[in-house]
């Protein structure tokens, strides 16, 4: 049984993906499918809520990296919110804060979309 799940919610025009569990090379395909589903639906303003994400490996980070250019080329973005410290440390280790806006809460992340481009 997978120890990872993605919940889909919406805040206005923004799609919020709430990640729960452990995101590794085994579960990364679930996250890929979630982003693909957003693309198919024409949803390119995406907030990833990491409050309940307990673990991430490079395979999980790789999903962010693989999709970000395409999402931005459609005028959207992926903003990352509410990461636990131990998970944020992995993003930071690889320099992701230079490529992504990572903020404390989902509300803050959705406000960033309202205030225009990063």
């Amino acid at each position: 049984m997978s120890n990872f799940s993605v919940a889909f919610t919406r805040q206005g025009s923004i799609r919020v993906l709430s990640l729960t569990g452990e995101l590794d090379a085994h579960t990364a395909t679930e996250f890929e499918k979630a982003i693909e589903r957003c693309k198919t639906n024409g949803e390119f303003s995406i907030v990833v809520d990491g409050e309940h994400l307990a673990y991430i490996s490079s395979a999980g980070l790789g999903v962010f990296m693989a999709f970000i250019e395409e999402i931005r080329s459609e005028g959207g973005d992926i903003k990352i919110a509410a990461l636990q410290d131990r998970v944020y440390n992995v993003f930071d280790l690889l320099g992701f804060p230079i490529l992504f806006e990572i903020v404390g809460t989902v509300e803050e992340a959705t406000r960033l979309f309202a205030t225009g481009p990063q």
Binding site: N3, E22, D24, A25, H26, A28, Y55, S57, S58, A59, L61, G62, V63, M65, A66, F67, I68, E69, E70, R86, N89, V90, L93, L94, G95, F96, I98, L99
Partner: protein
């Protein structure tokens, strides 16, 4: 422990490392780093050494001493070619829409010593994390 070459076993490998490190009262931050490094190394064995082929053997051993945690991971797949490794630059990887190439970098950043050996069709990665 021994697991077959399936990514679904990554979680039990991580739990194995954490369990041994906690029993030896290794600090939690250092445990997090060892857990991630071992997960990355096993992922590389399954995806690259065994090229995704199921049913092959991955052996993981952990030893915790007074000053260090040592991990050894062995496989019988394709040897890791260090010449293919390059320091990842995430802006470039994102531009190229690539999802891989980060695991070896993570291992090198998080562990204090990393050695790769290949002999007689057997590959081994040894990693050491000193107790902070």
């Amino acid at each position: 422990m021994e697991v077959s070459s399936s990514l679904r076993h990554l979680r039990s490998v991580r739990e194995f490392v954490v369990q041994h490190a906690r029993q030896a009262h290794f600090p939690e931050d250092a445990i997090d780093e060892c857990r991630l490094a071992v997960c990355e190394a096993c992922t590389n064995v399954i995806e690259h050494a065994y090229q995704g082929q199921p049913g092959r053997l991955v052996k993981v051993s952990v030893a915790v001493g007074p000053d260090r945690l040592s991990v050894r991971i062995t496989d019988n797949g394709k040897a890791f070619d260090r010449s293919t490794y390059f320091e990842p630059e995430i802006r470039r990887l994102a531009r190229e829409r690539r999802s891989g190439g980060l695991g070896v970098h993570i291992i090198r950043r998080l562990m204090d010593r990393v050695e790769y050996r290949s002999r007689d069709g057997k590959n081994e990665i040894r990693m050491v994390k000193y107790r902070p």
